[in-house]
């Protein structure tokens, strides 16, 4: 359980961090270390150089305005939990992040680290995809924006280039009155879930579903939206029949992995149950 040797640097600017990363194909960034340190301990990662973002300024703010919410890459789970503004500015984000990992890990784990690590069961990537968020990446060639839906390509893989550092996640504005839910099931509190779902929708004047977004984590190789379920919901009134139809559609459209925890069929059934519970609870609560 001892990492292989590496060099360590904590540059004082983003430019320096990017240049260091570009200069060494075996270099890696470290932020909170809550995913990387276990990989180092197990020697699943053996970087030559670790570039610590802890001194890089400007990455730790949560900014809220009428375009939405900007989460700096070094914002920790703890910071999101402590920010009372998010209760109205993004209740789905706040409730979902409350389910991430354990107390001590929440004091260190970061937004940028979770996005870059891209665990298929991680909560934040799921919210980013469901909400159509956008990531900002800075590399030697400059700055680019990538939609969350295009960022994740598979388990622990993304379109991030080696020299790029994630600086920010932008979640679009959350209007008041939305209906929403997050549901997940994990074998032990704080563990990665076997599957989770996030959903929200607005309503037209008669109360029919409008602009439904439904996302899933854990039961797929990367976080994704369930477009068929969204299409099914849009323009309809939520009732028990529709909820059951949506649950069945979700089970049919996910493509869960078969792993040592549970068989694929279990995850399909779990997604259906979570969608059912999520829709039922969303129909009862509306955000302020």
């Amino acid at each position: 359980m001892k990492p292989a040797p590496f060099e360590y640097q904590a540059p004082a600017t983003l430019r320096e961090a990017v240049d260091l990363l570009a200069s060494d194909p075996e270099a890696m960034v470290i932020a909170g270390g809550q995913s990387l340190m276990p990989l180092l301990a197990l020697r699943l990662a053996t970087p030559s150089l670790l570039i610590d973002l802890r001194r890089v300024p400007g990455l730790d703010a949560i900014a809220i305005d009428d375009s939405g919410i900007r989460l700096g890459a070094r914002v920790r789970w703890r910071d999101i939990e402590d920010d009372r503004r998010l209760e109205t500015a993004h209740p789905l984000l706040r409730e979902t992040i409350a389910q991430v990992a354990h107390y001590q890990i929440r004091n260190r784990g970061t937004v940028g680290g979770s996005l870059a690590h891209a665990d298929p069961a991680a909560e934040l990537p799921g919210i980013a995809v469901t909400c159509d968020a956008e990531l900002t990446l800075v590399g030697v060639a400059g700055t680019r924006m990538v939609r969350a839906g295009d960022f994740f390509t598979g388990p622990l893989t993304t379109v991030r280039q080696h020299d790029e550092i994630i600086t920010e996640l932008h979640l679009p504005f959350w209007p008041s009155g939305r209906r929403w839910a997050f549901r997940e099931f994990a074998q032990r509190r704080g563990d990665f879930s076997l599957a989770g779902i996030a959903l929200f929708y607005g309503e037209d004047q008669e109360g029919r579903v409008a602009n439904a977004h439904v996302g899933v984590i854990g039961a797929c190789d990367r976080p994704q939206r369930l477009m068929e379920v969204e299409a099914l919901l849009n323009g309809r009134f939520i009732d028990e029949g529709l909820i059951r139809e949506a649950a069945e559609t979700s089970a049919r459209t996910v493509d869960p992995p078969e792993d040592l925890h549970v068989p694929a069929a279990y995850r399909r059934a779990l997604v259906a149950t979570l969608i059912e519970r999520g829709l039922r609870s969303a129909a009862q609560h509306r955000s302020a």
């Binding site: 001892k2 276990p38 704080g190």
Partner: protein, 158 residues
């Protein structure tokens, strides 16, 4: 690399390899063996220490990352002479058997009650869910933390 930080109020300087995690630095370099190592990959919580007021897993931090920080370990909670109210509550409620998980339980609970002296049973269970104990069945640990809350409310935070 040379690293400077405060350990339980005393400035220390160590010279470590970048790959050394904080728990090994505390135990092997500074001979403070109160911090225990169960899994060394973030799964058990035995190694919990308090860095700049926040409970963290010392096996998931590099020693070189604590430059300039203030660290409190289980050794820093009490004096040689007396147990703290939290430790006294652990003893009263039989909240430890083999004692392996205890340093992590104490540091975690201390950080929690310092920030949230009114934490209820649910909150305490949620926070301690990251700390594994193979002996007690947890119930006496939760009881001890509940009992210790009174001492943290009276502004007596050490």
């Amino acid at each position: 690399m040379q690293v400077n930080f405060k350990l339980n109020g005393t400035p220390v300087v160590v010279d470590v390899e970048p790959r050394m995690h904080l728990a090994d630095c505390l135990r092997d370099e500074l001979r403070q063996t109160g911090t225990h190592l169960g899994c060394e990959h973030g799964a058990c919580g035995a190694c919990t220490v308090i860095v700049d007021g926040a409970a963290v897993r010392a096996c998931l931090m590099l020693a070189v990352q604590v430059e300039g920080s203030s660290i409190v370990t289980v050794e820093g909670l009490s004096t040689e002479e007396a147990l703290t109210p939290l430790q006294t509550a652990f003893r009263k409620h039989h909240a430890l058997q083999c004692g392996f998980c205890t340093p992590g339980m104490l540091t975690t609970a201390h950080a929690l009650l310092t920030d949230e002296p009114d934490a209820d049973g649910d909150r305490i269970r949620a926070v301690l869910s990251g700390n594994l104990c193979r002996c007690t069945g947890y119930i006496p640990i939760v009881d001890a933390v509940l009992d210790a809350r009174a001492a943290y409310r009276k502004s007596d935070k050490r």
